[in-house]
């Protein structure tokens, strides 16, 4: 009896629920109207391009269009994997990303630790204002700044080298130097910005721990080692994992703004290669296939990174 009564009630609710759902939707009509334009933008400009992804599997020609071009399956992926450029651009991408992680994270943490020890708030604010500022400069501007310092004819560093009797160094066209320029300009631009998240984590550490440590006679180094660093360990691990998730990015706009054909051997990354193959050489299908290859691996890395972050006890990014 009970089950019949229950199922009867269920059916009655189901019968009522469609008009009720409509009533609920009607109640939110203004919200839907407000959402509509923004959603339309996302659908057109973020999802609209997904249709074009299909040309990765076609022998695309602009005259034949997507529907008229021949299906070639994984041909373009194989072309990329078998080309000597594959190892070069994938290698450059990963090496530059790893260098950015290896050399870029520690300065952010150190800046945050030093700022955290400052008692005078005007001083702290001043240093923060100065070190955050480069984050808001474009890569073209930073390229201009680099020229002021590194230009072989009129850069400050080369002027100085010449004054001291050395030969000028062609920093921006040298395969020995270019990656380091990428890394250091990246650190210069984002050291302050990167420190923000660590500073936030530092303020969350329980101050009583420091009081207790002081009573136990722990000095500043011991406090840093046993309280501060463990206190921000989760954030460090989380950021490290997230950075590993975007390892195939390496910073397209930065490299595009600063590179030149002479440094392709060390600085040509997947994205810059895709741009040249696709837009300059008009090989749309190959470029799209490589872009898709990168997006899929990137997605897997981000998802994997987030799972890993959750395993480390943090709640992940979403």
């Amino acid at each position: 009896m009970k089950t019949i009564a229950e199922s009867g009630r269920g059916a009655a609710i189901a019968g009522r629920s469609v008009p009720r759902l409509l009533r609920v939707i009607w109640k939110y009509k203004y919200r839907y109207l407000l959402i509509a334009p923004g959603l339309l933008y996302i659908l057109i400009f973020k999802y609209g391009s997904l249709y074009g992804v299909s040309i990765a599997f076609l022998d695309y020609s602009p005259f034949l269009g997507i529907t008229g071009s021949d299906w070639v399956g994984l041909k373009w992926f194989r072309v990329f994997w078998e080309s000597p450029d594959f190892w070069k651009v994938t290698g450059n991408t990963i090496v530059i990303s790893l260098m950015k992680i290896a050399f870029g994270m520690t300065p952010d943490i150190i800046l945050a630790l030093l700022l955290n020890e400052v008692g005078r708030s005007w001083f702290k604010r001043t240093i923060q204002t100065l070190t955050y500022m480069p984050h808001f400069l474009s890569w073209v501007i930073i390229y201009g700044i680099l020229i002021a310092f590194l230009s072989p004819t009129s850069g400050l560093i080369n002027f100085t080298l010449k004054e001291w009797g050395y030969q000028p160094v062609q920093f921006l066209t040298s395969n020995d130097w270019f990656r380091w320029i990428i890394i250091f300009s990246d650190i210069w631009k984002d050291i302050g910005w990167g420190a923000i998240i660590y500073l936030a984590a530092l303020t969350a550490i329980d101050q009583q721990l420091y009081e207790a440590a002081k009573i136990d006679g722990a000095g500043r180094w011991k406090q840093t080692w046993h309280i501060t660093l463990p206190g921000i360990r989760n954030v460090i691990v989380l950021l490290l994992i997230l950075k590993m998730g975007t390892i195939l990015d390496a910073g397209f706009t930065q490299i595009y703004a600063m590179y030149n054909p002479l440094v392709y051997d060390t600085a040509d990354i997947i994205d810059t290669w895709v741009y040249r193959k696709g837009i300059i050489d008009n090989n749309f299908s190959l470029a799209t296939a490589v872009g898709l290859f990168k997006s899929v691996i990137g997605l897997l890395l981000v998802l994997g990174a987030n799972r890993l972050a959750k395993k480390f006890g943090d709640s992940g990014i979403w």
Binding site: L34, M133, A148, T153, T288, G291
Partner: protein, 287 residues
Amino acid sequence: MRRSAGEIGFQTFNYIVLTLLGLVALFPVFYVLVVSLTPYIELVRNGGFVVFPKVVTFQAYAELLQDTKIMRALANSAYVTIVSTAIGVALSMMLAYGLSSRSMPGRNAILLLLLITMMFQGGMIPQYMLVKSLGLLNSYWALIFSGTVSVFNVLVMKSFIENLPQNLEEAALIDGSTEIGYLFKIVLPLSMPIIATISLFYAVSHWNSFFEAILYISDTGKHPLQAVLRSMLNTPDPSEMGDMTIVVPTESVKMAAVIISIIPVLVIYPFLQNYFTKGVLLGSVKG
């Protein structure tokens, strides 16, 4: 409380290191400014290192002001930045407010649609083909509509609205206000700090973008300042060319152009910084 010698030593060390880091952040921009104001002859004479030039000349800036290409690029940048920021902030705020109601049917599906775009995108070439098929190639609209709505910014705004006191909406509705009235009379005024912050972030990112112009706009007369600046920086030095009859921008003119593109960012930077140091943007993406 007495401080130990080690403590004082550490504090001194800390202040010195931080001061140096502050100078490292500032000096490159300052040096570019000095180069733009110094006659090239004086630079060469002093081995490039001129901290306070003896002679200051605004000739480089005068040259730029007469350069119609640069002035046009400046106008292009201003136009695209203003229009795109206005559209972007309006759409983002509407999305954020709309999605801030937890009980709205379909809310989670729409949020998921937005979140997916943060993780997966079609790539440069499909995006180019999309812009082409929309007929926007070579049009300012290709620039205005790139990066107009950032999902990250929408989420930041949404969590700000969600953190407004919940009973405000009930009170407003009981007082006979419509939902639209509630949005305009209560939510918008209370959200001004986040609207200002997000506007500045949008404006800076549009002002700084250059690659979209190179990708979508072949008519360089429509290029924004950053794109024109990039090609200007890539012209060789006059001293390298040998042939002095060709008119090329000197180092000073290049650096003056860099300074002109920095100025708008530096002008709004203090306002920006005011907000993000308060932690408006931190931890708000989750949830």
